[in-house]
């Protein structure tokens, strides 16, 4: 006797409940679609459970700790005792759980059907979901792949453990590192280095390349100065050959400047790279175009080469950032609902929660000079900002770059307190194709870090009031 496959019918099936997947689900539901969301682990994905949110719990704690000496200056009592890592980790779990419950509640309120299990395509219009011994098949009209990405170890490092850690477990580290080796140069490595240093660890950063930080040159310089001041050591052109965990720490062999060197630390953080979670989906058999590394190719509506299937977030090409996934998720849902949408990542902000934080949008000075004949640049140091004088956070600056012939603002870069919150202002100016006057004319709250932006813009035409040129 043949047991027939019983398949259930659904309008829109979304694979993956990370920020991209659940944003797509909620938006599709808002637009009147019936939505099924499949998640193999926890709603919220890497971002909420292992990435963005946990890392920001740490950068937040680090920032608060770094403020303590200043707090005493303003009469607040000193806090007794040392930093309690286990308490922070418990707090992190509490926050992620709270946010996860929030996502679950949102799905429920929007009548999104959430199914637990591992999803894979069984036909061009069918997705199978495996959960324990159970296997269900869903026939869909449209599907969105939002299955995310997984970390990949770089060469030389073969395994991770309690002391060799990747970005998804560094924020669950069991004991506070005394000497943390950080291997990587992108934003997450900078955040790990900066926050663990502030929380009390000695930090050494290892880079494979010889290049500088990847921001505007002025930001690179300021960041290097601040790292140096904090005694965060930076070794460039250092390629790890092997890394082993010992009882007391990690033993790292690296090739640096042509010589083999041995480095000991208590822990090693490895940034590594990430690859898309596409293998298990079984899409190889269908006409869904992928890059060599497995990233799914999509058009501007997030549609794959198989018209009924869309893909968003880390499984597609481009930066592996939640901000991209969220935007793409909403756009895909809108496209499926018949709206005209567009995702344009040109003015995506680069954000790094170092101490102080960095926000960068648009062209760097160097890039602007390569593209535009005449550029104007202006840097306003927060040392001249009244509110920074109150908070004692006078490091850093706001830098604005504009096109001298059209007055169009081309890029805004900031390292300094308030950069993350101000970044939306930067993005807005660039998205509105603002000219200098568009940024100069509005009223800026006084006193506030915002005025740093105003004065940087005024400085383009030599009119910053609180700067001497």
């Amino acid at each position: 006797m043949v047991v027939g496959e019983i398949s259930q019918e659904r309008d829109l099936v979304i694979i993956g409940g990370g920020p991209g997947g659940y944003s797509a689900a909620v938006r599709a539901a808002q637009l009147g679609l019936s939505v099924t969301l499949i998640e193999r682990d926890k709603l919220g994905g890497v971002c909420l459970n292992k990435g963005c949110i946990p890392s920001k719990v740490f950068t937040y704690a680090a920032k608060k700790k770094a403020e303590m000496s200043h707090l005493q200056q303003i009469g607040l009592p000193a806090v007794e005792g040392t930093f309690q890592l286990d308490q922070l980790i418990a707090y992190k779990s509490k926050v992620t759980e709270q946010l996860r419950k929030g996502v679950e509640a949102l799905c429920k309120a929007n009548k999104v059907e959430v199914i637990q299990g591992k999803a894979g395509f069984t036909a061009e219009n069918k997705i199978g979901v495996e959960y324990g011994h159970q296997f269900d098949v869903y026939v869909f009209k449209q599907a969105i792949i939002a299955s995310g990405s997984s970390p990949v170890l770089p060469g030389g490092i073969t395994e991770t453990g309690k002391r060799i850690l990747l970005s998804h477990n560094i924020f669950s580290v069991e004991e506070m590192p005394t000497h943390l080796l950080v291997y990587g140069s992108s934003y997450i490595s900078l955040e790990v280095a900066s926050s663990f240093h502030a929380l009390g660890a000695k930090v050494t950063v290892l880079w494979e390349g010889a290049a500088d930080f990847s921001f505007d040159e002025s930001v690179n310089k300021e960041l290097a100065r601040l790292f140096k001041k904090k005694k965060i050591k930076l070794i460039k052109q250092a390629a790890i050959q092997s890394a082993e965990e010992t009882a007391a720490g990690v033993h790292v062999t690296l090739q640096a400047g042509g010589k083999e060197e041995v480095l000991e630390g208590s822990h090693l953080f490895v940034e590594g790279s990430r690859l898309p979670n596409t293998k298990e989906l079984g899409i190889g058999r269908f006409a869904i175009e992928q890059t060599e590394k497995g990233f799914i190719r999509v058009n501007k509506d997030m549609q794959t080469s198989l018209p009924s299937v869309y893909a968003i977030g880390d499984v597609t090409e481009g930066p592996l950032l939640a901000v991209k996934a969220i935007k793409q998720g909403k756009a895909a849902a809108e496209a499926i609902a018949g709206e005209r949408t567009e995702v344009d990542l040109t003015c995506i902000p680069t954000i790094v929660h170092t101490i102080p934080p960095i926000a960068s949008v648009g062209l760097t000075e160097q890039e602007a000079r390569e593209r535009v004949g005449g550029v104007r640049t202006s840097k306003f140091n927060l040392g001249g900002n009244g509110y920074a004088a109150i908070t004692g956070k006078r490091d850093g600056f706001v830098k604005v770059i504009s096109d001298a012939s059209t007055d169009l603002i081309l890029g805004i870069h900031m390292i300094g307190e308030g950069a993350v919150e101000l970044s939306s202002h930067f993005v807005q100016l660039l998205e509105m194709a603002a000219k200098e006057e568009d940024a100069k004319f509005p009223l800026y709250a006084h006193p506030s870090y915002n005025e740093g932006l105003l004065e940087a813009v005024e400085g383009l035409v030599g009119q910053a009031v609180h700067a001497v040129t």
């Binding site: 140069s185 992108s186 934003y187 494979e208 390349g209 010889a210 290049a211 990847s214 052109q237 400047g257 042509g258 790279s273 481009g318 930066p319 005209r340 949408t341 567009e342 344009d344 990542l345 040109t346 003015c347 995506i348 680069t350 648009g362 062209l363 760097t364 160097q366 890039e367 000079r369 390569e370 593209r371 096109d403 059209t406 007055d407 169009l408 660039l430 998205e431 509105m432 194709a433 000219k435």
Partner: protein, 410 residues
């Protein structure tokens, strides 16, 4: 280490052929020093150095055609040179690794090709199925406004309706005449470039056009005589000669307004731009230092520029630096026009068809004369009508009595 990339030189180009390098590894270069000559589909251009320093490595060989954005060579910028001796062996490896890393962390930067319109304006375009990049901006900075989109939409309205009606027509095939879909011409490259320049000029400069007529009879006679003596000289060469003489008397028309710095710059070079009508569109080729050239030399220059412009072989030098532009549309016909000034110049003259007409000579006799109209547009911020008339009178005088040109011979 600085990467020098092939960038869009301003025609909406997508690729270019590397003709030859003007530098070699080890050469010291200054900022803006030309590094390499690139052939695009329209012209030959030089890429200047973005910084002072030393040429480290040339990546793309001459003769190769590459896409915009391709790294052509590396320059060690001044000041960062000390780091180099430490790793003299393999500059290759460390330099490739960071590049890859950079792309990993900010891959979107390399494609910074921003749409200059607010998100709301973009939405209007999107909702009307308009590619916003096709909308002509009224603002010289290239910023597209809501009004620009609506204007574009109005112009497109008729064909858009026709398209919308199509499915209805197909359900009733026997119904009246089928609506033909319009033919689409891509609005890119030189065409778009021309549009941009014209818009900028017209929206920046308050244009005034004044018309005049010139008696060409004597010039025609002189040309016949020269031809008889084995010297064929184009009318344009005489125009350029007379123009330069007139410009020296009226320097305000060989000028550029620098509004920002509140200055009018009277140019000391007399570089005459010639509007050339090529298959792809209008190109301005430039006769440099026209005041230092004889009529014969001008004739040869003009001939060469015309030929090269039509063959798409003008070098970038031949295409820039003009201080006054003329457009000799006479051979094509026409009796008048309101030409647009070649921004940021102050004036432009179009020469129209020379016709045989009955004229009254000084003896009050009706005779056959060769008459030509000219249209001169000028920037009314810089000059006034009276000056413009005096200027064209001086020009016409020289052309009507071409013998006087001899007095200006070099």
């Amino acid at each position: 280490m600085l990467e020098v990339k092939l960038h869009d030189i301003g025609e909406g180009m997508t690729e270019g052929e590397i003709l030859h390098y003007l530098v070699k590894p080890g050469d010291e270069v200054k900022t803006d020093q030309p590094l390499v000559e690139v052939q695009t589909d329209k012209m030959v251009a030089e890429l200047p150095s973005p910084a002072a320093g030393i040429v480290k490595e040339i990546i793309v060989e001459a003769g190769t055609t590459v896409q915009v954005g391709t790294t052509l060579l590396y320059i060690e910028a001044e000041g960062s040179a000390q780091a180099a001796p430490e790793q003299p062996k393999q500059p290759e490896e460390p330099s490739t690794a960071p590049v890859a890393e950079k792309q990993e962390s900010r891959p979107f930067v390399s494609s910074f090709n921003r749409v200059l319109a607010t998100p709301y304006t973009r939405k209007i375009a999107r909702d009307h199925n308009i590619d916003i990049e096709q909308v002509l901006p009224s603002d010289p900075s290239g910023r597209v406004t809501e009004e620009d989109v609506y204007r574009f939409l109005e112009q497109k309205e008729a064909p858009a309706v026709a398209v919308a009606e199509k499915p209805a027509a197909s359900t009733a095939p026997a119904a009246s005449q089928p609506t033909e879909a319009p033919e689409e011409i891509p609005f890119r490259g030189l065409r778009r470039q021309i549009a941009k320049k014209m818009t900028k000029s017209l929206y920046t400069i308050p244009h005034v056009t004044h018309f005049d007529e010139v008696n060409m009879t004597n010039l025609m006679k002189l040309r016949e005589e020269l031809k008889g003596a084995g010297q064929s000289v184009s009318v344009t060469a005489f125009f350029v000669k007379a123009l330069v003489i007139a410009l020296k008397d009226f320097p305000i028309f060989n000028a550029e307004l620098d509004e920002e710095n509140e200055k009018i710059l009277l140019k000391k070079n007399y570089n005459i731009g010639l509007a050339v009508d090529t298959e792809d569109g209008l190109i301005v080729a430039v006769v440099h230092d026209a005041d230092k050239k004889s009529i014969k030399e001008l004739h040869q220059d003009i001939k060469r520029l015309n030929e090269q412009a039509r063959a798409g072989q003008l070098s970038s030098k031949d295409m820039k630096g003009s201080t006054f532009t003329i457009s000799n549309v006479g051979p094509l016909g026409s009796t008048g026009a309101t030409p647009i000034i070649n921004y940021p110049e102050t004036a432009l003259i179009a020469f129209h068809k020379t016709k045989k007409v009955p004229i009254v000579n000084e003896q009050d006799e009706i005779v056959i004369g060769h008459m030509m109209n000219l249209s001169m547009s000028f920037d009314h911020r810089v000059a006034d009508g009276g000056t413009a008339v005096a200027f064209t009178n001086r020009f016409a005088g020289l052309i009507e009595q071409p013998n006087t040109l001899m007095l200006e011979m070099i």
